[in-house]
Symmetry: none
Subunit: 127 residues, 4 copies
């Protein structure tokens, strides 16, 4: 699996890293039981700080995507029953301003839905 980090981006590296791994899980490239590279390994591979990788891993652990094992390091957990009401609320708050801006800029509902649909399909089909 290939990790792309944009150091120029305004998005923090540890968030990009977290998103990349979730993206990998969504695409099926990372499956339950797969182990992630060690913090040190990944940090030196990408050329970033240890703390940065650590922070990403911890976030993934907090969200249930990853389980930290003392021997095996970080392994992908079983992603089930993670669809809490809390997440749905957070989701709504997150996409609301995006939708508002899209609407203001003149995007039709159809176009917006179409874009979402394509992205969603890019995960569903490959699995």
């Amino acid at each position: 699996m290939l990790l792309k980090i944009e150091f120029e981006s305004e998005i923090p590296i540890y968030i990009q890293l977290k998103n990349s791994i979730i993206d990998g899980i969504a695409k099926g490239e990372l499956k339950e039981g797969d182990s992630l590279p060690s913090v040190r390994q990944l940090a030196s591979d990408i050329g970033i700080n240890l703390h940065t990788v650590n922070k990403a891993y911890n976030l993934l652990r907090d969200d249930g995507f990853v389980i930290m094992d003392r021997r095996k390091g970080a392994v992908i957990g079983k992603n089930s029953s993670m669809l809490s009401e809390e997440f749905k609320e957070k989701l709504g708050e997150e996409i609301r301003p995006v939708i508002a801006e899209s609407y203001c800029r003149g995007m039709t509902k159809e176009e917006f839905m179409s874009i979402c649909s394509k992205i969603f399909d890019s995960y569903c089909k490959e699995k």
Copy 2:
């Protein structure tokens, strides 16, 4: 129009403010030509620093939502033809990780689309 700012939020105040105003435009509460409160007025109303308001206004100006009129201060601009390819790209990059996480957490495409649809309708119908 009522502006809600959550000071405890991790989202910067000036971003919340910007989003609130775009939300107001999307809802039709703010229309082309309407003038916004002065930076000082709004700052004291909300209880924040005027520079924070200023930053939000400048971002809105850069995005074309607001025009700084030398006589009237900040007024809502005409939101037309702002649907650039650049924005669509940014939009895709912004929602992709949100969709990836939703998918990983077990959300179906139908459910996700339904949530988006409701939010979109909350703007469309009131217009």
Copy 3:
């Protein structure tokens, strides 16, 4: 002569006004001896403050483009021998950063000179 003022511009109105009048002189629309509208007249025509017009007129007077006559108001002066070394210096300082940026952005000398040439011709020919 038609005066265009952009209230949304970042350029102060009194500067725009001054530039417009100089533009009119350059185009030959305003000639020596022509009288400008009264401060009150022009202010109400454009819909701006008296002080703003006054400021523009005073600048034009300071630069020798206009002479303030107690009876006739502001009249266009004779624009000759105003090519001081001081002005040439100021000119150089003013266009240097413009040229630097143009060059950095990849504009060739030919293209830049061509643009200048066309603008210059727009004044020369009409006279």
Copy 4:
């Protein structure tokens, strides 16, 4: 590279700073990949506030001259394909009043073009 700031000038410090850096790029003193001093460093060197430096850096970033690297701070970006139509328009509007005034003051086209030519060459030759 030496930065000259005139505190008595009517031109805002952050604009002078921005122009100085673009000037440095044009002269070839600053090349792609070179990193700029940190905002704090530069601010204390020049003797101004760090926010003023920050504003200049952010403008340069918005214009594509500089990239904010999360690890290395501000670095000079690749200045290519920045010659948009938008810039050409802005350029024309910016130099038009300068040319108009020069013409009114009796400057010949040849003299004006000669001044521009010399300034342009001062950048070209050193590259």
